[in-house]
């Protein structure tokens, strides 16, 4: 019994150690980065574009799941979810910016059309 107890304790320590070595610590950097990118996507107007809004929602869901995994001390799962949250947030940001750029291009073209009409 005593042996078994100490075996479990040692196993636990080894598991923790291995987790630490394999980069399985609490992925706080990934959490911070993903949250920051989500904020950036929101500021870029992701809510206003369907595709960007979809990936923003996915990122937020993944962030929530990752947070839950962290609460459950499941760092590996949290790490995977944070990777996904980051990927969705990046995509949402790019799509939101694309919409803004498209608007600018359209505005420039409208100005050209206006000038051409004016000059006729």
């Amino acid at each position: 019994m005593q042996h078994l107890k100490s075996f479990v304790a040692v196993s636990g320590l080894v598991a923790l150690f291995v987790a630490g070595c394999g980069g399985s610590g609490v992925p706080l950097d990934k959490l911070t980065d993903a949250k920051a990118t989500v904020r950036a996507a929101q500021e870029a107007g992701a809510q206003g574009t369907p595709q960007a809004a979809l990936h923003l929602k996915m990122a937020n869901d993944e962030l929530a799941s990752a947070q839950k995994a962290l609460d459950d001390k499941d760092n590996d799962r949290a790490r995977l979810l944070l990777n996904q949250a980051q990927a969705d947030a990046d995509l949402s940001l790019a799509l939101a910016r694309g919409t803004a750029e498209k608007q600018q291009a359209e505005e420039a073209q409208a100005k050209i059309d206006g000038l051409l009409k004016q000059s006729q």
């Binding site: 990936h55 590996d76 799962r77 995977l80 979810l81 990777n83 996904q84 980051q86 990927a87 969705d88 990046d90 995509l91 790019a94 799509l95 910016r97 694309g98 750029e101 498209k102 600018q104 291009a105 420039a108 073209q109 100005k111 050209i112 000038l115 051409l116 004016q118 000059s119």
Partner: protein, 303 residues
């Protein structure tokens, strides 16, 4: 027991080998997405993003080899799919940006061109206006010069008239302007040669006549008093008139504009009974036909 263990292990191995060839749907999607990113012409505008999509897919493939059908494979494949989609989105953005930049450049180019056109038009209109303006100024100058010239001519005529008035009696009559010169001043009694003093006076008369502007036809008429024979008086008056005419011609009055006649004792201007009257009758008159005398001019005789 041993055999069953071996069989179980073999079965597991076989299952895992089989599993390793069956990718998760996520990995299939990731491969498809990466293929699109790799071949998309707009994604080629962002090679870094395509490369990072490839690295994400490689990572998913590694996990798939090592740990097939796992949550990790699914997760890495999911990320790889998003990376490929990101490359496509960024490529699209780059293309949009190129188009926007081109549109902005085109816009400012167009604006410059329109501005240049407008300025050229404005310049043309301005130069037209300034041409009209300078033409107007020229016309005005011309009018002013003409007016000045007329004023000067009038002033000269006026001065000529005034100077004539100083040296001779000038009268406006029906036959024209009559300039009366006293015979006493012009000639020695009984002679028809001009005295030096007379020449000064005739110089001024010639100058005044020329200053009138256009020189009008004129007649020099010689008169005597009633003393002596009519024939002698006629001859003397004719000679004296000729002497005055010759002198005036020598001073620039055109000879075809001036003639001379002797009138003898005709048309006395005063009584021949008194010495003063006779002196007034001995005279030379220059009759300028149609001379434009001043409008008021009934009797211009001054001194």
């Amino acid at each position: 027991m041993k055999i069953s263990t071996i069989a179980a292990v073999t079965g597991l191995l076989a299952a895992s080998a089989c599993a390793s060839t069956t990718p998760t749907p996520e990995l299939v999607n990731a491969r498809t997405a990466y293929d699109r990113a790799r071949t998309d012409p707009t994604a080629s505008l962002v090679p870094d993003s395509v490369l990072s999509a490839k690295q994400a897919l490689d990572k998913a493939e590694q996990v798939h080899e090592k740990d097939p059908q796992s949550d990790a494979e699914r997760s890495y494949a999911y990320v790889a799919q998003r990376r490929a989609e990101l490359a496509l989105a960024l490529g699209d953005n780059a293309k949009q940006k190129q188009q926007a930049d081109a549109a902005v450049a085109h816009y400012s180019e167009l604006q410059d061109k329109l501005r240049a056109n407008a300025q050229a038009q404005l310049g043309a209109e301005r130069s037209q206006v300034s041409q009209l303006g300078s033409a107007l100024v020229q016309t005005q100058n011309g009018l002013a010069a003409e007016k000045d010239a007329r004023k000067a001519a009038e002033a000269r005529a006026q001065r000529a008239m005034e100077s004539l008035n100083k040296i001779a009696a000038v009268k406006e009559e029906a036959r024209g302007m009559v300039i009366t010169l006293s015979g006493q001043v012009l000639f020695v009694t009984g002679k028809s040669e001009l005295l030096p003093a007379a020449q000064d006076q005739l110089d001024q008369v010639a100058k005044a006549l020329k200053d009138q502007g256009e020189i009008k036809p004129m007649v020099v008429e010689g008169y005597t008093d009633s003393v002596g024979s009519d024939a002698a008086n006629l001859t003397l008056s004719k000679n004296r008139a000729e002497a005055v005419r010759s002198y005036l011609v020598s001073k620039g009055i055109p000879s075809d504009k001036i003639s001379a006649v002797g009138k003898g004792k005709a048309n006395p201007v005063a009584s021949n009974d008194t010495p003063d009257g006779r002196a007034n009758n001995r005279r030379v008159e220059i009759v300028v036909s149609g001379a434009n005398a001043p409008a008021n001019g009934s009797d211009m005789s001054g001194k």
